[in-house]
Structures are given as C-alpha cells and as structure tokens.
Amino acid sequence: MSVLEVKDLLISFNQYTSGLKQQQLNVISNLTITLEKGEILAVVGASGSGKSLLAHAILGILPSNANVSGTLRYDGEVLTPAKQASLRGSEIALIPQSVNYLDPLMRVGNQVRTSARVENPVTAQRKVFERLHLHENVEKMYPFQLSGGMARRTLLSTAIVSGAKVIIADEPTPGLDPVVIKEAMESFRELADSGCAVMLITHDIVSALSIADKIAVFYAGTTVEIAPVENFAGDGEALRHPYSKALWRALPQNDFIPIPGAQPHPGDLPPGCLFAPRCPLATPECDRGQPEMRTLRDGMVRCIHAT
C-alpha cells in the first residue's frame, strides 16, 4: 500500500490583481500522485510549475492565502491540519531548499540531535554523520563554518535521525559540486533501501535519474507524465508525453535543442491541454478540455495523442 497518496489536489492563491480586486489563481490542479515504501519518486519540472508547493501542501505549511482542496492520505489515513502538524518532523520530514533553515546560533551536532526521536540522540547523530562522511569535529561547528555541501548533508542528517518514513527533499542539489551531489544522492538511495519513501523535488533530471525509481514530470501545476526511470534513455522514444520528450532532448548531453515558448502563467492557462500551445502534436481536439491522467505501458500520461 502507498505510504502517501495525493488525490485531485488543487491549490489556489488569493492574489490582488489590480487595485482592490482579489483573484483566485490555481497554481496546482488535478494533481494525483502516490509514494511507495522503499521508493524514490523524483518530481521534475520548470520553476513555477508548482513542485515546491506540493511539498508544502503535504506538510501543511502553505501560506495563509492559499486554498487547498483534494485528499491527502498518509498510511491510508486522511491528513487533517492537526494530523499534519503532529506528523511533521517525526513521520514526514522536509529537507528544505535553502541552507538558511539551520539555526545559526546552535552547534550543528545539537541541531541534529534535537530532531532525533530515538533513545540515544548522540550516538544516532554520530552514526549518521559517519555515514554521510561528515568529520567528527563537524558536530561542534556552527552553520556559518560549514561549506555548502556540508550544510546540505547536515540538513539531510536531520531528516535521517528523525526516523521519518516519508522524506521530501526540495531542490537539495543546486550549486553543489558533482562529488557532493553524488554523495547526497547515494544517501537518498540508502534511505529508500532502508524502507523510507523519498520524494525528490528537483529540476536536475540527470542526478535524479541516477537514484530515482519513478519520475513525475510537472508542467504548469500538474503532472503530465509519471514514468519509470528506465524510460529516460536514448532519444526519449520510450517517454509518453511530448513535454517530457522535449525536456529530455534539451539536456546538454542530448540534443540541447529547446522547443520554443514558455510555461503558461496560472492567471491565463489554456482552455484545454496545458501544453497544447507549445506542442508539436497539438490538434483542435486538444483544446477541448484538460486530458485525464491515463495508464499507458507501465506509466501514466496526460495526453490524448500519447501512444
């Protein structure tokens, strides 16, 4: 059974448009996604596609002008705000985007220990540091003394010692050098292998591919494709959605050829398929409403033309 289930999630924001009017902007719509034990799901997509908001919605930490509807289930149980608050940090842990989330006035060893929910926090913290190749004297350091890579690994250890069953990592890699990225990725794999479910939110498909089991491709606030990781290979012919294919082909190690245009804004989404205006396969049928997610081969796709 899935550890985490997101069904028909819709997130909208009340935003002032001009003057005194407020408008509701749908930033995430029709989102359905599941997370299994021992599995790494990578969520990839452009900035502004709503990836981080999904993480915030699961943890219940959206700002107060956000409206949420849809169902979230953890271990089969419906997540209410109260439930979210009690699971946050103990069962569901977030590895935040920015290293500014470390307390600047506390030694990092102590910070990691405070989130440990086991009998002996000190040994737990030391064990994790060893596993992540953080030197013993790091635990006595303050955040400002850490390099970017060390800070990332500290954040990661916080999530590991918490014993959380679901770990959500929001853009854990940008700006790190390849060695550190590789190490961070390997520790995610180890976590998953020990029974955690990991959701890896990133725009870096390449490093996600090295460890993930499934990849969910986000576009304009919803998933367009959920594919097993093996599909991201060659020319992308195994991929289902034209956007995933375009994303794959635009990588520098592939063709490096972009499709024109930009992701639509939440304020003026196209009437039908969200990708239709940029899609090479688009037909008038595509404008007739957003296609439903459907199972295709061993993945899911939101496109009527996909085969």
């Binding site: 997509g45 050098d177 498909i205 794959w248």
Partner: protein
C-alpha cells in the same frame, strides 16, 4: 579585443587567500569555461573580472588598458539567482531599460513575451526573470559576458533556450563569454576552452 586578468590575488579582510596569482585571458568571440571545486573563489573571481570587487594584487585589463570604474562596464555579469538581481519594486520594463533601450529583436530571440514587460518581478518565474537579466546584460557596449551559474536553477528547456540566444548574439557581435558551471556536460557543449582553477 582581449580581456586579461594578470596575477590576481584576493582575500576578505585578513582571512586566508582565496586565490593567488591567477591568470585568465579571454579573446574576443571566445567561449571559455571556468571550473573549480566549490569554495575556491570562482564567484569572487567573476566579481573581480566584472569590476564588482577590486583585486588585492594584480590587474584586469581590456586590450592592455585598465577598465574604468566609471560609466558602463564592458564586462557584464549574470548571476545564479535572478530574483535578487532585479529591483522588486520595478516593473520589468524599467528593469530592462536600466541596460539601455531594449531591442525588440533581442527580446523575441530570448522568448520574452510583450505582456511580461508590464508585470512585477514576483509575477514571473525564475526562468522568465533570468531572460530579462540576460537581455539587460547584453547591452551593445558589452564586450564580455560572464555567466556565473546562470542557468543552474532553470529547467533544461529554458536553459537551452537562453544559451542558444546568448550564443547567437555573441557570435554576431564577437563577444567573449566566460561560463562558470558545475554542470560538466553544459561546459563541454558550449565552451571552446576550459580553465581549471586549482
């Protein structure tokens, strides 16, 4: 035209030297990659080349002449986080006009839609903002462009779009480019030559 940094050393206050005796030369129209392990002062070197910071020792010259600190700087820098590089209280039109009158051809080359010009920065995504920052830096007086992790935060499609546009402009104008990136494949794809800082 040649951008030359000779014997550059730098440190903050009385701290340890970030680097000493660094030499970088970029010719007109050349695209050079700059790589180094993190924490070796790549960003600081970029800031020195673009005149944001003065080197402790050494000099930065264009065709042998020190770059004047007054007026438009011929070396422009585009950084990793576009949200920090635009004034949040300015509409995008004004942001663009800071780098001279925007050329409509350049705008369409970078895929900037007309309707974005009247928006506030917080209404655009990182990829869209970065396109504006690139246009602003591609003033006709810009001789060299330094891209410090310019597309690190962007998705592959936007990254490819921006780079294709920048390369086209650089080729047409004979502009030199220095690219800093952790992404090996990107450097390989774009650069004529790679300088490795040790």
């Amino acid at each position: 035209m040649q951008l030359e940094a000779r014997n550059i050393s730098f440190r903050y206050g009385n701290g340890p030297y970030l680097f000493r005796g660094v030499n970088v030369t970029v010719e007109q129209g050349e695209i050079v990659g700059l790589t180094a392990p993190s924490g070796r002062g790549k960003t600081t070197l970029c800031r020195i080349l673009a005149g944001f910071e003065k080197p402790l020792e050494g000099s930065v010259t264009i065709d042998g002449i020190p770059v004047s600190s007054k007026g438009f700087h011929p070396v422009q820098l585009v950084l990793q986080h576009p949200e920090k590089a635009v004034n949040p209280r300015w509409k995008m039109e004004k942001v663009l006009s800071e780098g001279g009158k925007p050329d409509s051809e350049l705008l369409s080359l970078l895929g900037i839609e007309k309707e974005w010009l009247t928006r506030w920065p917080n209404e655009l995504s990182g990829g869209e903002l970065q396109r504006f920052c690139v246009v602003r830096a591609l003033n006709t007086n810009t001789r060299f462009l330094i891209a410090d992790e310019m597309t690190t935060m962007l998705d592959a499609i936007t990254q490819a779009q921006i780079w294709h546009a920048v390369l086209e402009v650089a080729k047409a104008r004979g502009m030199g480019i220095i690219i800093v990136s952790h992404e090996e494949m990107l450097i390989q794809r774009l650069c004529d030559r790679v300088i490795e800082l040790k």
